[in-house]
Amino acid sequence: MKNKVVNLRNVSQNPCSMCMPLGGIIPFKGLEQSMVILHGSQGCSTYMRRFMAEHFNEPIDVGSSALNEKGTVYGGEENLKKGLDNILKVYNPKLIGILTTCLAETIGEDIDRISLEYLQEREMEDFPLVTVPTPAYSDSHTEGYFLAVKRIITRLAQKSEKNEKVNIIIPNISPADIREIKRILEGMEIAYTLLPDFSETMDAPFTNNFGKLPNGGTKLGDIRNMPGAKATIELGITVEDHLSPGKYLENSFGVPLYRLPLPIGLENTDKFILTLKTISGKEVPEMFRKERGRLQDCMIDSHKYNAQGIAVVFGEPELVYAVTKTCLENGIKPKVLATGSKNFKSGQLFGEESSNLKVLTETDFVHIRQVCKEMDVNLAIGNSEGKYLTEKEGIPLVRIGFPIHDRVGGQRILSVGYQGTIMFLDRITNTLLEYKLSNYRSSMYQKYFQGIDVK
């Protein structure tokens, strides 16, 4: 791929991704009554909790086996078992996820063996402990996320009777986005199992009786029956096969798989709705046709303003793809695409268009900034870390994705479906407008005012 910049750097300067276990925590937060423990030093889980708490504005409880020096030298088995004991006691969860930090991986901890032994020793063989090896040095949080989803299914799914449900696998999107996808499914009258569903758990309504484990999340029984579903829709065309939960269900249980992009933008949402129609044989309700029409209206209203946009799109591959498509549909020129993950096959994804795109993988913000300057970028679309581009280059930022930590409401940002796309597009257009309106007087003056006395 001629446009792909191969990354041989020795130092990351202002990272564009997080580490693998953080991505692995998120799906466990979308399961009914579940807890997670990180096998490694205490600090890792504290950092990740802090990072996630800022985005979701929800308490994020994650245990740690709190490995110390001794555990590091002689193995941390006892710490992990004790950690599990304590979590069971305080939280009484229905499932526990065990993730590793880079430390546990480096000293060669075998979490599969330890967890098997643990269940035997405690005589609770049926209890679902889901292990996910997430060495921070091998992949980014994106891969950690999908691996966790896959391992959850692998552990729970059983050969089950055929049913009418459709499995929906979603990438790391906002709780508001998940709710919108559920609304679409319900509007189409489709029975579904959506995984992971952190729409309630990570954006819980205020109630006067707070529980340690929030309500909501995908039901474990539903996950067990995923192999009996009619089909799987995986909103993850950038996910590699070996990490793909949908591929696993297809290969092991023959569940037909539809891999679709995130439904952001007109075409991507069409694809989602049409696929639902194909699978279920149900008609698309009038309501969605109207929403679609409003989106078209919105696209027309804004197209000339949007034509001024030269964008950098950054973040997780799946989101970068969907957002870039949306830009292209609306005449915004996405010049720079950037992700901290190494898995982003832009050539395959964008076909001919890809020759106009500068794609940076495994990149960092110092690099992104430099390329944005070269390409005259005037609009950034991505998570809060992009505030660096605003501060240093004055490029305005439209916030979407994870993490949103410098504004409230990361959990409430809605961008999927026709309705979500309308809101997303308005955010983009208004950002461009605000930028233009606050600059045009002075810039026109500088450009054209020649003074009264021309000498």
């Binding site: 750097r9 990351s12 990272p15 030093s41 205490q42 950092y47 909790r49 305080v90 040095y137 707070f210």
Partner: protein
């Protein structure tokens, strides 16, 4: 106590005390229990907190990307000069580095950063796996320092070797090496002090420095708020050290006294009372009547300026109850006193890394019935806040959503804050913030039944 038996882990009982007639020694300064969901941060975090405010240094994290991602420009320390410290540099170790060692990558990373940013000073932080894969960062730093003719200090901050307090110590060790003079000890300057334990969050160190300037005392260098390589090199010209955040700086003050014969005084600039007392204490040390008079004048003016407004808030806040959960004991003690100035009772107080002496002082300060706890977890915080009927929690980012979910007011008292809480003006800001959260109208709408519930 029935509540405690229900949800709590027995071993944790030794770290929880309810002040009463019987004196009990609280278990503290020990390792976190596995699976307890401790709120503690790690060694690297402690080290980074202390060193990060040194503005013109390159702060390079040696390890996989995560640690650097979670600490990129998240602190509110301000600079009057270089902005270099606001970058997050990491060697971003990958699988191959873990197998073959990361020393070469580290030295290439240093080369690259020196070439690009021309720093005089680099800190290299080792994170969890560095020791395990056998990298000798001392040797790499030494060689690189010689090569580039600059100063490079390794900071031993692998997460598993202890907690945040161990990181403070590692940071202080690095600082001690940095301030070490050449063969000749410089002359001491009279009425010239170093200010230890202020990280210039939202300009706090500037506020305090300005007080001293007004009364005729020079602040030589602050450790480490808005410090720079050149300023730190002159550290031992001061004739007195004053120490605020004892948790991180006590050790440094002791070592400097031992090595360079600079005595130190403990101070606190949190709250009107403490600020006034601390200024008096420092003035008295120099034993100069004019200086004392200027100090009294300053105190009088400032208290006249802010006292009445604070009294206004006190009127509205009297009788409210606060819960405190912060990093160190010093801060907890200051907060108890500061709440007292506002007529608020502290009903629960805990810290992540408080020391024995500090807990003894806390026990002396608080009323009977107050819960004192070390290294608490969310379950305990929840239980005791509810049990004691706290109206307000003071804590960091991770604790905020918990307070809000419980419908309790919240004060951010950590390194992310964006407004100063130090000095006389800080006391007013604090009162204002407490008022804005405790007396917010929103609580009326979230507690109780509301219109929807009316029959």
């Amino acid at each position: 106590m029935a509540v405690m038996e229900r949800k709590f882990i027995e071993e944790r009982m030794e770290s929880i005390n309810i002040k009463g007639k019987k004196k009990k020694h609280l278990k503290c300064e020990s390792e976190s229990l596995a699976g307890c969901v401790s709120q503690r941060a790690c060694v690297y975090c402690g080290a980074r907190v202390v060193l990060n405010p040194i503005t013109d240094a390159v702060h390079l994290v040696h390890g996989p990307i995560g640690c650097a991602s979670y600490t990129w420009d998240i602190r509110g320390s301000l600079s009057s000069g270089s902005e270099l410290y606001r970058n997050s540099f990491s060697t971003d170790l990958k699988e191959n580095d873990v197998i073959f060692g990361g020393e070469k990558k580290l030295s290439r990373a240093i080369d690259e950063l020196v070439l690009k940013y021309h720093p005089q000073l680099i800190f290299v932080y080792s994170t969890c796996i560095v020791g395990v894969i056998g990298d000798d960062i001392e040797a790499v730093c030494k060689a690189a320092a010689r090569k580039h003719n600059i100063e490079i200090y390794p900071v031993q901050s692998s997460g598993f070797i202890g907690n945040k307090a161990a990181g403070y110590k590692a940071a202080c060790e690095a600082v001690l090496k940095l301030i070490k003079p050449g063969v000749h000890l410089p002359e001491k300057k009279n009425k010239c002090i170093n200010y230890l334990g202020d990280f210039n969050l939202a300009g706090e160190a500037w506020i305090i420095t300005h007080y001293f300037k007004q009364i005729g005392i020079d602040v030589n260098v602050t450790f480490t708020g808005d410090a720079s390589f050149t300023k730190l090199k002159k550290a031992i010209e001061a004739s007195l050290n004053i120490v605020q955040c004892a948790g991180s700086m006590f050790y440094l003050a002791q070592e400097i006294e031992k090595k360079y014969n600079i005595p130190y005084l403990n101070v606190s600039f949190l709250g009107l009372e403490d600020t006034a007392q601390s200024l008096r204490k420092v003035a008295a040390y120099f034993n100069d009547p004019d200086l004392m008079e200027r100090t009294e004048n300053l105190i009088k003016n400032e208290i006249e300026k802010y006292g009445p407004q604070i009294a206004g808030y006190r009127e509205k806040l009297t009788g409210k109850k606060a819960a405190v959960y912060v990093g160190g004991g010093f801060k907890a003690i200051s907060l108890i006193k500061q709440f007292r100035e506002l007529g608020i009772d502290v009903v629960m107080v805990g810290t992540q890394t408080g020391r024995k002496e500090e807990y003894a002082e806390i026990e002396d300060l608080v009323d009977d019935g107050t819960v004192v706890l070390d290294d608490a977890n969310p379950a305990e915080l929840e239980e005791f806040m509810l049990l004691k009927g706290a109206h307000l929690l003071v804590g960091g980012v991770k604790e905020r959503p918990l307070a809000y979910k419980l419908g309790v007011a919240f004060i951010d008292h950590n390194h992310d804050r964006k407004h100063p809480l130090s000095g006389f003006v800080g006391a007013l800001n604090f009162a204002k913030e407490v008022y804005s959260t405790v007396c917010s109208p929103v609580w009326q709408y979230v507690h109780g039944e509301g219109l929807l519930h009316e029959k």
